[in-house]
Symmetry: C2
Subunit: 218 residues, 2 copies
């Protein structure tokens, strides 16, 4: 499986976004409701039968593989299946990551589906978010790469609810980029991260020819 060149126009992308964005948001609502419901077992079985009927209809015309990534020549990529930012992926919160100054920033909310200790965000979910943030910071600075190492330092528990994250490039040397990032809750700084990102050989030529996103994914 490989990266694809995005064959849709800007207008076609927006039309798809208007269909899949709200649909996936409704799925996230269902995932949350399924965790927290206390309705009787027969109601759950009825819901299950209906979910399976919808799934069957959607599977009438599936992609041959996973979603993958659509590359654009405008420096942005479409990663709608991505586990953190994917517009079409109900597992993704999803994060909207914007460039700010020399780095990237995101404000988002994590609910019941991202729980670890009671009422708290799972430590691994915070690592998942920070891996994406640091990777996008590297890309936003013109130094995209794949994660080589990632170190997380947990300063205090992170309550489920509204959060913000920032990430930026610390330094870079050739194909290596070191990035740092943080997550803040209303209680203050909760997690710090530091990562090394390396641009693999196969990707270097593409970045040079403008065919691998160096800004960010949407």
């Amino acid at each position: 499986m490989d990266y694809r060149i995005d064959e849709l126009s800007r207008e076609e992308v927006e039309a798809e976004r208007a269909v899949y964005g709200p649909f996936t948001e409704s799925l996230r609502g269902l995932v949350d409701a399924a965790i927290r419901t206390t309705v009787p077992a027969e109601e759950i079985r009825r819901a299950q039968a209906e979910v399976e009927a919808i799934t069957e209809r959607l599977r009438a015309a599936p992609m041959r593989t996973t979603y993958g990534v659509d590359l654009r020549t405008d420096g942005r990529g479409r990663a709608w299946g991505n586990a953190v930012v994917g517009l079409r992926n109900a597992v993704a919160p999803p994060l909207t990551i914007v460039q700010e100054g020399r780095g990237v920033r995101s404000s988002f909310t994590l609910g019941a589906a991202y729980e670890g200790p009671p009422g708290s965000v799972h430590g691994g979910v915070l690592a998942l978010v920070l891996d994406q943030m640091l990777g996008e910071a590297a890309g936003a600075g013109g130094k995209p790469g794949m994660t080589a190492t990632l170190t997380l330092s947990y300063r205090q528990r992170t309550a489920l609810g509204p959060l913000t994250s920032e990430a930026w490039i610390e330094r870079s040397e050739g194909i290596k980029t070191w990035a740092r990032g943080e997550i803040h809750s209303p209680d203050g700084l909760t997690v710090e991260a530091e990562g090394l990102f390396i641009l693999p050989k196969w990707a270097r030529e593409r970045v040079e020819s403008g065919l691998l996103p160096v800004e960010s994914f949407e």
Copy 2:
């Protein structure tokens, strides 16, 4: 929000598992189908309306908070909302983690919903899995704790598909436990992790009185 004492008998827990396990599995199928479908927009809108109707019925009787964790005095806890192992959480693959020798082990499959680079597991998802694995290894060794630091070293890309993970305690000193773990794909070792887990003050008394799981979550 806090840990709860599990008030269900073993039989009642199994009856709930038989209802919620298959339902959540059907939701995981829907999440996957939604990422990969190419059906027309009107079919997506119809699916959305049906998903919202199911959600509304499930929300007729919601828990007051998130799922949390049910504690048992038999050394195991029920974490059905957990983002990695949660039986009722469609975001979770979910992993079934078993004790083996001095550590823990899990075999699982990650599909389209866990994608980062095309055809590959998101680096952050691997961190999410390893955080849970190392934490459970610490617990299985009688040294449960919260993640203080976690370091991931990515050795090669991890293809979506069948994976295994192992984790074990490296050493411990009082309330501090160092654990290590790995993820293997059919291509071999893909990620190594090392973490420090510390048992917070509020939890020490509970572990001593048998009210915080020291084996694992289910």
